[in-house]
Structures are given as C-alpha cells and as structure tokens.
Amino acid sequence: MANYKEAPLATRPKTLDPAEYFNLSHDYRRAEEKRASLRAQLKRQYLEQLNNPHRKELIEDPALTRWTYARTNNNYFRPTAKTSLIGGLFGVLPLFILYVVFKTDRDKREAKIKAGTYERPYKLST
C-alpha cells in the first residue's frame, strides 16, 4: 500500500486503512462489491439520461419525489402534552399578550389625547 499520510482535516477512509484492508471477510467484500455495482448501475442510468440527445424533459429523481411526498403528507400529528404546550405557547398565548400590550398602549394614548398632552409626531393632512 502506498504511504498515505493523513491530512489534518481528512481522516483516512475505512477502505484504505491498512489494518482493516486485509482483515475484511469474504462476505463483507462481496456485499461491498454488490453495493458498488448497484451504485454504478444507477450512475450509468443517470448518465445515459443526461447525455441522451433526444431527451426533452427533466430527469426525475424518485428520491426527491418521495421526500416531497413525505414532507407534505404528514398526517402523523397527534395532540400530545408537548405539542399542545407548543401550540398554546405560540398560538394562543401571544394573542392574549398582544391584547394586553395593545390595549394599555392605546388607552394611554387615548388618555393623553383627551388631556391634550399628546404631541403628534407627523403633520398629516387628510
């Protein structure tokens, strides 16, 4: 094996580790070859589609289709204690907090207007 010094940020890959390389069992090597051949088949299929001069449409990626389906069709929501807490904290509580904030602020401004002490920040003509 070539003398491969490891770079500071790149660790030696598992397949090039001399301690491991000669210890692999035959079954593991066969499985690894099978996985490599599957990868090569997929890559060949993709490259055939990519370089097909008569292709007009997009190359479809089934993994992307599965991913978007999973993202959009998640009917796995269950109302548990944690989800109810999150829902209440972000969906219900802010409404009450905002009500209190707005009401006090506007009532203060209304009181100032009634007392005549409110200075208008802009000169608006309607």
Binding site: L58, R71, F90, Y99, F102
Partner: protein, 344 residues
C-alpha cells in the same frame, strides 16, 4: 360603467363564436381592449366621491383601483392559461375562458355596486366559477378537498353577513352605500348588536383571509390552475378587503373595543404565516402563505379605522394583486417546464 360592462358581457359571444384558430387571440385582444377602456375610470371627476353612471352601479376612489385591477387581470389570465389548456378540446377551452369572463363580470358588478345587497350577491356569485375552475381544471386529486374547503369556509362566513344585512335594512330602511354614509351612527350597546357587528365582518375576514380562518387559502391556491390562482390571489381576496372598508363606515362606535381580536389575529398572523413560508417546499404553497401574510397587514390597516390605515390598505391591495398574480404566473412557467413545484 356600462362602457366596460357591456363589452365584458359581449365577451361571451366572442368566446363561443370565434373560430378555433383565433380563439385565444380574439379573447386576449378583446379583454385588452376592455382593460384599456377601464382606465378611463381613473379620472376623478366628482369631488363628492361617487362618480356614478346609474342608480345601481357607481365608482368612487375606493373601488376604482380595484376595478381597473380586475379588468387588467383578465387578459393576463388568458395569456397565462393558453399553454396548459391548449391540449383540450375546443368546447372545453371555450368553457374555461367563459368561466374567467363570468368571474370578470361578477367582479365588475361587485366592485361597482352601490347597494350592499348587490355586492353580497356578486360576492357569492364569484364563488361558483372559481369553484368550477379549481375542481375541474386543477392538477392533483386534492383539488376536490380544496374546492370543498374553499366553498364551505366562505359560505359559512357569509351567511351571518346576509342576516346582518337584512337586519340593517330592517333598521335603517336602506342598504345603498350612497345613503348609508350619511346615516346617523347606530345605537350599538347590547350583546345582540355585538353579534351583528361580528356578523357584518366575518364574511370578509374569512375571504381576506384572517389568520385563524385562513385554512382554505393554501389548499385552493395550490390546487387551482394558474388562472384560478391568479384571479383568487389578485382580486377575490380584495373583495374581502373592499367589503370590510365599506362596512366599517356604519359599524363605528362599537369598533373601538371589538376590533382588538382582529387586529391581534391579523398581526400575529403576519408573523406566523411568514414563518410557515420559510418551511414550505411547494412553491405555490409559499406564495399562498405570503398572500395570507400580506392580507393580514391589510386587515390590520382597515380595522384600526384611520385614514392612513385605509390608504395603506388600498395601496397594499393593489400592489399585492399585481405582484401575487405575477408570482403565480412565474410559478406556473416553472411548473410547465419541469412538472414539479418543489423548490429544489
């Protein structure tokens, strides 16, 4: 007003009698002509507000920009749908454009109405062509679900409005906007009156949509074809805003206290739907949630009842109408070329 309404009604014979080769060209040209004529409304001739043409239809500076927006949208919708409708048989293409033109007619009559009942009837009437467009020409199977949500949310919101309008007619004797703007402020001090107040506004809040009742919008926008999405986003949402602006005139003394829930829902809705936008993978869904966010700001502007708020609301409605329908158009061009709405 009739200078635009009659050509719009004449669009129907144009659609059905044009030869198949010239169908799209003639309808686009006809609707562009209507759109150019509609620009004459922008001339504000009467200082008193309503530039009316007859007893039932009139325009004023609130409805004119929305009317011009409606008229300009029809040629854009026809242009945008030309590609995805062309494989279909001719009579189906004609039906599609007929639905778009009928929407246009109902919307012109809605925005130009002087009687609130006429506005209400046209408000409801626009639901039907939109429902047919969504459920018949949408692309995914979820369009039936989307049509159901759209129809029933809006109908459930607008039934209280009908009752409220009938009560208003009973108590004031008229429902004409020209008269009601000068009426005495109503005595609104009981629980029944509060429910009446809410009934007047809920229909428009569902249509806007307000954050709590916005669930129909992403579904309807995603499942609709491009012209349906364009008209939904650009004009139908503004029907809600316009209706709210008209109704706020007579709802006055009670609105100081009762408006708080809606202000809060609108503002919190801006933030929440903005955050939901960040997590979307479907492009049309993202534009739909951004529509909810913008309309939340419009709702906030209308409900606080200041002149600046109203002006801001109108400007945002027009701007959003143009931009959102253009966005849906762009999303459709991407979808036509890649048949996928994922944003990756």
């Amino acid at each position: 007003m009739l200078k635009v309404l009659i050509p719009t009604i004449m669009l129907f014979p144009t659609i059905w009698l044009a030869s198949p080769k010239w169908l799209w060209t003639t309808t686009t040209a006809h609707s562009l002509l209507i759109a150019s004529i509609s620009l004459m409304w922008l001339k504000w001739t009467s200082e008193a507000g309503w530039t009316s043409s007859n007893m039932y239809l009139a325009t004023d500076p609130l409805s004119t920009p929305l009317l011009v927006l409606t008229c300009w949208l029809l040629p854009l919708m026809i242009l945008a749908s030309q590609n995805h409708i062309s494989p279909e048989p001719i009579s189906r293409q004609r039906s599609y454009i007929t639905l778009l033109a009928s929407l246009q007619t109902f919307l012109i009559m809605a925005f130009g109405a002087t009687e609130i009942i006429m506005f209400y009837i046209m408000f409801e009437a626009t639901l039907i062509p939109t429902l047919i467009i969504i459920t018949r020409w949408g692309n995914q199977t979820e369009r039936l679900n989307a049509g159901t949500y759209f129809l029933f949310y809006t109908l459930a919101g607008s039934l209280p409005l009908l009752v409220a309008l009938l009560l208003l007619q009973q108590s004031t004797g008229t429902l004409s906007m020209l008269v009601l703007q000068y009426s005495q402020p109503l005595q609104l001090n009981s629980w029944g009156h509060m429910i009446w107040w809410a009934g007047c506004l809920i229909a428009f809040l569902v249509k806007m949509p307000l954050y709590g009742v916005h669930l129909w919008l992403p579904k309807a926008h995603v499942e609709a074809p491009v012209a349906g999405s364009m008209v939904l986003a650009a004009v139908l949402l503004k029907l809600g805003g316009y209706g709210m602006m008209r109704m706020m005139v007579m709802l006055d003394p009670l609105s100081k206290e009762l408006a708080y829930p809606f202000i809060i829902l609108a503002l919190w809705g801006i933030i929440m739907t903005g955050l939901i936008c960040l997590r979307q993978t479907d492009l049309k869904s993202l534009i739909a949630y951004s529509s909810v966010s913008h309309m939340g700001l419009v709702t906030g502007g209308i409900v606080i009842q200041t002149p600046w708020g109203f002006s801001g609301a109108i400007i945002l409605m027009i701007a959003h109408g143009l931009v959102s329908s253009a966005l849906f158009c762009l999303a459709n061009t991407a979808y036509e070329r890649t048949h996928s709405r994922t944003m990756m």
